[in-house]
Amino acid sequence: MSTPSITPEETTVRAELRAWLAAHWQVDRSLVAWRHLLVDSGWGMPHWPREWHGRGLPVALLPAIDAEFEAVGAVGVARIGIRLLAAATLLEHGSDDHKRRFLRRILSGEDTWCQLFSEPGSGSDLAGGTTRAEFDGTRWVVNGQKLWTTSAHHAHWGLLLARTDWDAPKHQGLSFFVIDMHQPGVEVRPLKQMNGYASFNEVFFTDAVVPANNQVANTGDGWKVAMTTLAHERRNADALRRWGHASPHAGRIYDEERAEIATVMEPYRWYPQRAGRVDLALPRARSTGRMADPAVRQELAKLLMLSRASEWLAQRARHAKQSGKPEGPEGSLGKLVASHVARAAAEVHALISGADAMLAGADSPENGMIAEILLSVPATSIAGGTDEIQRNIIGERVLDLPREPRTDAGPFRDIPRNPPRPRG
């Protein structure tokens, strides 16, 4: 819990940025125009390379830079949603042409993106996808289906993982593309969940077209590229929320930012409930009078202890990362413990609410929040990799246990797989 001392570099950078903001920041500018200035100056993504809209500064300076922005209330580049995963992926694997065509409009917020990885037949086994891309001599033709695609209904571009070789082993037969979502061969349908929300989409490809120059990396290298995207997704889960809060200030640029945030964050409205809303447990036990029940006290205590210990565990992981130590087991355990916390919280909420746990909507306690928790928590142990998969990862990568025998080696064509999902 020590405060790192301020380096001379930080002092210089802060001064430079402060002067730049004083000269350029105006609330009555349009959001897009302002962000183009950020892109041109490199202050929008200061840790990115100089040739690609950055200033090549160390990541460690980002908090200080953010603080300067906050001090004057300046809005940053577009940082929420899948677009930043797209940017990170293209920075690492894209050609100069990709970077030139896509990065600027990602940062300006003019383009939104979605991630087309999960399929009806391949979730845990992400590399088992069967959406196919075939080269017809001039361009790629895509057929198949994706599932769980957040924001597909308003995205301009998609990060697409598709099979290009059916005779290669499954990880080697995949390729990576940037697909234009606004074309006749792409159909997007909302997918309703058990909690009543429709935060995701099904995406159908029927002879959808990808120009040759929208392929990222080499044919057969798609899995490697997708792993980059997923690594950033895992790393930036917190950032998504952090930048998802609209500023309360008045002014044109803030209005435009608020509208952007509302659109991008809409699918995530129920995410706090899916994590179990531990914050509500104690106040509700008190306000309902259920705190007098020894059964409630026991379960509540278990929940609070579990939840707080899991936060400390996460902080240990962050601390290790910041001080450059090798990552311990804390990171992999974090995803699993989140499921335990969510499930325990749902049980505690049901225990506290009693008969009211049967009710929903306006009749449910906390204006529907309790019902939403009870019906959203099941997602936590599935989304982003199921608990069973997390346990396998912990067993094999953290505890170094022998791997289970593989039954999916050899040509992909020969591996047993699921029939296509009927198109409803």
Binding site: S118, P120, G121, S122, G123, S124, D125, G128, L147, W148, L191, K192, Q193, M194, G196, D293, A295, V296, R343, A350, L351, S353, G354, A355, D356, A357, M358, L359, A360, G361, A362, D363, S364, A371, L374, L375, P378, A379, S381, I382, A383, T386, D387, E388, R391, N392, E404, R406, T407, D408, I415, P416, R417, N418, G424
Partner: protein
């Protein structure tokens, strides 16, 4: 005490199961849960008229089939398995049993035939907002009037409270406390001063309502019998019957998860080949079978008027609550993402399990009651 069903009971189960498979498949469940009434009157007529289920535990001289709670529970298990949208729990389990256990003989002769014939849908309104399931917590007042009684107060979580047209309401005389002064009252569906409002529920296959009664005319039932012991017998039986429905639902969740684990391929093999899934399903089966054993033992004991019936009702409900919630949570988990979607059927049973786990008292309440009754008997 026998530990298996007789051939007749097995046959009976087969008839109910086949009827529900044919007449109330999940497509019908989805249609009814989205409908305004919440159930299909034609199906209800079939349940009552063709199968006679609405009188299964009613003595023959009152128009019923003269069986016991065991047979009622067989029907309940099948309703739970099929997730049938019908006012069976409200009308047959709650209201009909209430009349049998609490009303006088002449009142039974007057009121039961319409319920047994399925011409009327009954329900029992005893709980009030906050959800204390004991009758002694009842605050609704019954004040004498020239032509009977007037009721004032409110009721909450009334099962099928909108669909019902035979309302049985628990209320107390002014100035009374605890179990003293409690009574059962019949209220006409169109009575002046009765306002009903549908409650929004997580389980839309079983509706609930809130009632507000303001100087509402009512008729006392069972004045010649002891309300407290009758109500206790009613609650024990209703609790066991609900637990039966819950284990039926848990079996359906388990079956669906097992089927899916055999079909769904990941990493080149069915997910049921992974021990994580196999072991989970084995534990689910164990828990569901234990709860089923507890339910069936309790039902048989109730029919034999076993002195342990109350304790066994709590035993059955506590285990059924835990087992059905476990089955629900794990069935969604085994289905993966698809199990979280609306179009997959798992969530329908999940929501019933979630709701039934607290209806008539959650597992913690019944475990507490189990120990209290054990100590009282020692």
């Amino acid at each position: 005490m026998h530990f298996g069903y007789t051939d007749e009971q097995e046959q009976f189960r087969g008839i109910v199961a086949r009827f529900l498979r044919e007449r109330a498949p999940v497509s019908a469940v989805r249609a009814q849960m989205a409908s305004e009434r919440g159930h299909d009157p034609a199906l209800w007529r079939g349940i009552a008229g063709e199968l006679g289920l609405t009188g299964v535990h009613v003595p023959e001289h009152l128009g019923g089939q003269g069986f016991g709670l065991e047979e009622l529970c067989i029907a309940q298990e099948e309703f739970g398995r099929a997730l049938t949208c019908a006012p069976f729990f409200a009308s047959t389990v709650l209201a009909t049993t209430a009349l049998l256990e609490i009303a006088d003989e002449a009142e039974q002769e007057a009121l039961l035939p319409a319920l047994v014939a399925g011409e009327r849908v009954g329900t029992l309104a005893w709980v009030e907002q906050g959800g204390d399931w004991s009758a002694s917590a009842c605050a609704m007042l019954a004040t004498p009037a020239a032509d009977g009684v007037r009721l004032n107060g409110h009721k909450h979580y009334v099962i099928d409270g909108l669909a019902a047209d035979r309302l049985l309401v628990v209320a107390r005389t002014p100035g009374s406390v605890g179990n003293a002064g409690l009574g059962l009252y019949a209220v006409e569906a169109d009575a002046a001063g009765l306002v009903r409002r549908g409650l929004e529920t997580i389980d839309t296959t079983r509706r609930q309502a809130a009632l507000v009664l303001t100087d509402c005319p009512a008729r006392r039932l069972g004045a010649g019998r002891d309300f407290t012991s009758g109500f206790a017998r009613l609650m024990d039986r209703a609790t066991i019957a609900l637990a039966a429905e819950m284990v039926g639902g848990a079996h359906a969740l388990l079956d669906a998860a097992v089927d899916y684990a055999k079909l769904r391929m990941q990493f080149g093999r069915p997910i049921g080949a992974f021990q994580a899934i196999k072991h989970k399903l084995a534990e689910m089966l164990l828990e569901v079978e234990l709860a089923t054993a507890a339910v069936r033992y309790a039902a048989a004991a109730a029919d034999a008027n076993d002195a342990e019936t109350s304790l066994l009702a709590s035993h059955a409900k506590a285990m059924a609550s835990d087992a059905s919630m476990r089955a629900a949570v794990e069935a969604v988990q085994i289905h993966g993402g698809i199990g979280f979607t609306w179009d997959n059927d798992t969530h329908l049973w999940f929501k019933r399990a979630r709701s039934s786990a607290v209806l008539l008292g959650d597992a913690a309440l019944h475990r507490e009651r189990y120990i209290a009754l054990t100590e009282a008997a020692a």
